[in-house]
């Protein structure tokens, strides 16, 4: 059940990321420009 729900959630989130990416690109947000790829682990997540 959980897997069934997380698939559409991941799909929607990844598509939402494209809209957010456009926003960051247009507004030139520096935190994205200089951020490293090390944000892989969500610090508040139990499974981290």
């Amino acid at each position: 059940m959980r897997r069934l729900l997380s698939l559409p959630y991941t799909f929607v989130l990844m598509n939402w990321a494209a809209l957010a990416g456009l926003y960051y690109f247009v507004t030139g947000r520096k935190d994205v420009w200089l951020k490293s790829k090390s944000s892989h682990t969500h610090k508040h997540c139990k499974t981290a």
Binding site: T10, G21, S39, C45
Partner: protein, 365 residues
């Protein structure tokens, strides 16, 4: 009568928008992989791999990575490649945590330090490192991921084929049990890799894996300072010069899978923001007569940028004509998004309130 005709035209227009967007979304996620399968069957171009040992420079760009640098350097020392042919360059971009002292410890062991006191970004750090590089082949690496022992050998074997200008390795996302991750983030990444593998067999991939990729040094072009995705810009520049960028699944780097979709989201926003920048930096990639992988580039990279807009149009047009077959499609769409919201709520249940997370001193205790 006029009103009726207007209503009919409006409906027909809505239907056209709906079906065009439906076809587009279907193509991006299913049609394109199908097309790749077909093209691979009809005209795969295998790389003429051959064992060789050219001089290699490994370039590691880092900012504040004191904790990981030592592990990464030790990983580089353990690689199965002749030591006299391996140059390791660490380019530090304005570190404030003393990363440079870690590198200094290893400077006598084939490690070279390029130290910038100002934090100017990864692209500048890479440009500086490349000026120091002497290897015929340059391998780019991130600090976080570790290489498999044979990674360099597997990468360079592809350069025996003169048509190859860049090679991307494979990033394996590992879960807690040290197996390849089968979470949704892991599955998404595997889908991406399957696409890359097929693209590579036909001609070239539209971007490399930042954690492990290699190029012929002579093909490197200085990156603009604000470049977000060096691992897409550099391989694409090489493809635009007429060389191939291929995928080598046996050259592996390992990383831990993102703990949840929300963590992967941050990385994805950065990547997609970089893809918009890529279109601005390399507009020639959108010209079919300049870009040998125009169809791959548009279907894979541009398609992903446009897909959310198509999904939005699909939902809105469907909302405005909920009758007949459209009632069914609307119900399916509504159910899909309701599941997504439920998935979000479920994932939030796994997030521990920050007040319950012990700080470092409490952890140590």
């Amino acid at each position: 009568m006029i009103q009726h005709r207007f209503a009919v035209q409006k409906k027909s227009c809505m239907e056209t928008i709906f079906w065009v967007n439906f076809a587009f979304v279907l193509y991006v996620y299913f049609g394109y992989p199908g097309l790749l399968m077909l093209c691979r069957r009809l005209g795969a171009r295998p790389v003429k791999k051959q064992h060789c040992e050219p001089a290699v420079s490994i370039v590691i760009a880092a900012h504040n990575e004191q904790e990981r640098l030592e592990r990464k350097l030790k990983n580089c020392f353990e690689l199965d490649y002749p030591k006299r042919k391996l140059q390791i360059i660490v380019s530090l971009d304005g570190p404030t945590d003393g990363s440079e002292f870690i590198v200094w410890k290893y400077v006598s062991q084939r490690v070279e330090l390029v130290h910038s006191k100002q934090h100017l970004g990864k692209a500048v750090a890479l440009n500086r490192a490349l000026r120091r590089a002497t290897g015929e082949i340059v391998v780019f690496a991130d600090v976080r991921q570790t290489f498999a022992r044979n990674a360099i050998r597997e990468l360079v074997a592809n350069f025996a084929d003169e048509s190859v200008g860049a090679v991307s390795g494979e990033l394996l996302l590992i879960d807690e049990s040290a197996q390849e991750a089968t979470t949704d983030v892991g599955l998404y990444w595997r889908y991406e890799k399957a696409l890359r593998s097929m693209e590579s067999e036909i001609h070239s991939i539209a971007g490399a894996t930042g954690a492990i990729y290699a190029i012929r040094r002579e093909l490197y072009q200085d990156l603009p300072e604000d470049t977000i995705l060096d691992d897409v810009v550099t391989p694409l520049q090489i493809v635009l010069k007429g060389k191939r960028t291929v995928f080598e699944p046996h050259a592996r780097a390992y990383d831990v899978v993102a703990c949840c979709a929300l963590a992967e989201y941050g990385r994805k926003v950065r990547t997609l923001c970089g893809n918009y920048q890529l279109l601005a930096q390399l507009p020639q990639a959108l010209l079919p007569w300049r870009n040998p992988i125009f169809i791959q580039f548009v279907s894979h990279k541009v398609g992903r940028l446009l897909a959310p807009w198509a999904l939005l149009a699909l939902f809105i047009t469907n909302l405005l004509m909920v009758r007949g077959i459209y009632a069914v499609t609307f119900s399916l769409q509504a159910a899909w998004y309701a599941f997504a919201v439920a998935g979000y709520i479920l994932s939030r249940r796994d997030i521990v309130p920050s007040i319950l997370i012990p700080n470092d001193s409490e952890r140590a205790a």
